[in-house]
Symmetry: C2
Subunit: 470 residues, 2 copies
């Protein structure tokens, strides 16, 4: 048995792990990085990046819809051959993964071990199938998450997850998608635009939205563009030669049958903690295997073992994963000296048609906060003027949550074209503790999508000043 | 002769004038508004709004270009019938102008006079062709600007300006555009995308850009998408039945001939000061007739006479016009009590393909400032990763100007897809006096266009830290 040692051991070479490695290294720690393929980070390989690439192609096809409103009439038929879309997607994706790999390959071989780690004790891991033990002072676990398929569905065989969908040669002729999250909505819509006959089986509380008014608009908007079966109960799925037969009871209690070529299951993800032996060394996990951490220090229940990225929560974004990774690496390197991470504004964006976004506090967290005595008001604007009218994208909604005492903007949920830009701008407003009055008088360029923020902030100001009068 | 009087007289019912009326009214001034059609504000009728509507249609047509990169292949020919585009444009525009008119028509008839004003003395105007004199304590002049056509061109007849182009029934088969400003680039490109055979005669210092690197990228990008003849000298224009023949010497000294159906001249705009008799009452004008004002108070050289909007400068945006109008109206109402307007961050956006933007200080103003001893550094990023790669929009450039001493971000010029969003975000960064280090570590969502701001700010930080070491 070979024994090596290091200051900080990093397990996982994804978005979080690589950031942890870089940060620990910068702080002077002698590091070892353990990776166990497939390389290239989940984000780049099967996560938000390939999904965004697919959506970009889908939106190109879709861009030629609603032409009448612009006075444009297409002469003749329009049909797209989409047989090369998946290849084009992988070509773009390859540039991103290559960049990640070039970062990994710059790490000296002595500091980079390929294999699967298993904790022997809180200061030692063994590399499975290799005669190697590694002792360390501190560790960062960043092994991420992976799609989970319920047993009943999995046993049918050939069920697609986000691990497989981007590897397909062609776009399936018909597809059932199970899930209400980003992947289900984004991939379902993109493949539908690209010509697949898609049905999404979704709960009606879409994505992470908690604001009923936004959910209503989003549900209507998605349902007008792609088949969505909200709140259906699937009673049976059968394999029928090369296809699948689905029996389900829909929202109105009707029984339905659907035949599809492929099934994409993106309901849930599970933590990649199996085999790490974490419980035995005292690292606390939740029911689904995710590591409980202190979100300000990235420490697990075992103080010198840190965790970062999707291993702590499958729903955090790549940006958050990287921030956690950077912080975990830094703290692991300086341990027992621990820094507390500055809380950044929550920012979640779903890039679809239309896009969804949550910035700062969701309506649900505002309500929780109100129960502790901190009142707030809600302002609402519809995207009916300025650039929205010009682009004929007038079905969106932006809801703003403002503290009643300080008039500070605390959060927003929205469903609107260009939501990514509105959300990014609002995140800075929240970070800078702007009041709704300040935002209402902010000189937005005309015409832009961002002007709707000044509308909704103006509505908030008026609501607050009316309250004052009474 | 009828004589009436008021506290504050407002001349012009455009973007600036209406804001001035509202602000003065709110401050309790007894106001009269003089308007002399066509109603609806220049911005809504022949300015940035109809231009943006035309560009929206043009981008729809253009969206189906560069399909190969997405793995999309169009089956069969694609051709658009664009005969209804101008009608669709006017239908959308009508909603905006109707909103403006509904504001105007809410003004009591006793406070709204239709006619052309002429100053009799600094406290009295007469309404031409009416038996009416109005005396006032203070006045706001907001009569805007109008396109100017050089005599040599005008005498050919039927030359288009922005006053006419949006009234056309159909898109001209071929078009020569004279100008380097927003209108020339935006309308020329839009009409070209919509099927017109367009040639833009432009100087190579495009629009308001002053940064040579950005100008270079922009010139290449525009030249790859629409015919632009940079720095050509037009030697003769002749009317040939229903068309025009142009002889010109191009950049490489070759003589050329071009036959076009229509000529759009958008080189210059002149102030609508003719007939107001301003010089006689002591209001100072510049050579082209624009009113010299103190930009912080909106006062002309005659203290109780204010001016706002395009009558002070044809290049200011609608947002600036409105802000000036609001302030002029307020100051006119409270005169001799005068407030100084808070300086807002300069923000200029040209919505084209790609878009151009200037935020905060231009490179030229940074250089002027440096001559007074305040050093700065320039950072540059190309739009090569993230959402830009995904959307295959990798030809853009963002240049950032940062104060060397404080590391504060002071300005930027750019040519990039989504520049409107980058510029709007940067304007808030500048307003909040963010340093390049703060912007570099700002957690942008992934993937978004806005991430390029963190790249360019990171480059600025590295340049500054290298400087420190030396």
């Amino acid at each position: 048995m070979k024994n090596i040692s290091c200051d900080t051991l990093i397990i996982g070479a994804g978005s979080a792990g690589l950031e942890a490695y870089k940060a620990a290294n910068e702080k002077g720690a002698n590091c070892i990085l353990i990776e166990s393929g497939p390389l290239g980070t989940t984000s780049q390989r099967s996560g938000d990046i390939p999904a965004a690439i697919l959506m970009a192609a889908a939106k190109r096809v879709r861009a030629s819809s609603n032409l009448d409103a612009f006075g444009l009439r297409l002469i003749g038929e329009r049909e797209y051959d989409t047989s090369e879309v998946m290849n084009a997607l992988r070509a773009v994706r390859a540039r991103g993964t290559t960049e990640i790999l070039s970062v990994i390959y710059k790490i000296p071989e002595s500091e980079r071990i390929i294999g699967r780690a298993r904790f022997v004790d809180p200061y030692c891991v063994e590399i499975i199938d290799q005669d190697l033990n590694i002792t360390f002072k501190t560790a960062v676990i960043a092994t991420g998450s992976t799609p989970d398929i319920p047993y009943e569905i999995a046993k049918l065989g050939d069920i697609l997850t986000t691990n497989d969908i981007f590897e397909l040669d062609t776009i399936p002729k018909s597809l059932a998608v199970f899930g209400s999250g980003a992947e289900a909505l984004q991939l379902g819509q993109a493949l539908s635009y690209l010509g697949s006959d898609v049905t999404i089986f979704s709960r009606s509380n879409l994505w992470h939205l908690t604001d009923e008014s936004v959910i209503q608009v989003a549900a209507d908007e998605f349902a007008s563009k792609v088949n969505i079966a909200f709140n259906s109960v699937i009673t049976a799925i059968e394999r029928e030669n090369d296809s699948y037969g689905l029996y389900y009871i829909d929202d109105s209690n009707y029984e339905n049958y659907l035949k599809v070529d492929k099934v994409l299951a993106v309901n849930t993800r599970v933590a990649r903690t199996q085999g790490l032996n974490l419980r035995d060394i005292g690292v606390r996990l939740d029911k689904r295997g995710f590591i409980d951490i202190d979100n300000t220090t990235m420490q697990s229940s075992v103080n010198h073992i840190f965790a970062a990225g999707n291993i702590t929560d499958a729903n955090i974004s790549t940006v958050q994963s990287k921030a956690q990774g950077r912080f975990a690496g830094m703290n692991a390197a300086t341990y027992p000296l621990i820094n507390v991470m500055k809380e950044r504004v929550n920012l979640k964006i779903l890039d679809a048609d239309p896009s969804l976004a949550i910035v700062g506090m969701s309506l649900e967290s505002m309500r929780d906060r109100a129960r502790r005595g901190q009142s707030f008001i809600v302002a609402e604007s519809h995207t009916s003027s300025g650039m929205y009218r010009i682009q004929r994208k007038v079905n969106g909604i932006v809801r703003l949550y403002v503290d009643e005492a300080s008039h500070e903007i605390l959060g927003s949920e929205m469903c609107a074209s260009g939501a990514a830009h509105l959300a990014q701008f609002l995140s800075l407003c929240i970070e800078k503790k702007m009041t709704c009055e300040e935002l209402a008088s902010y000189p937005f360029y005309n015409p832009t999508y961002e002007q709707v923020l000044s509308d909704v902030a103006g509505n908030a100001s008026r609501t607050l000043s009316r309250k004052k009068v009474i």
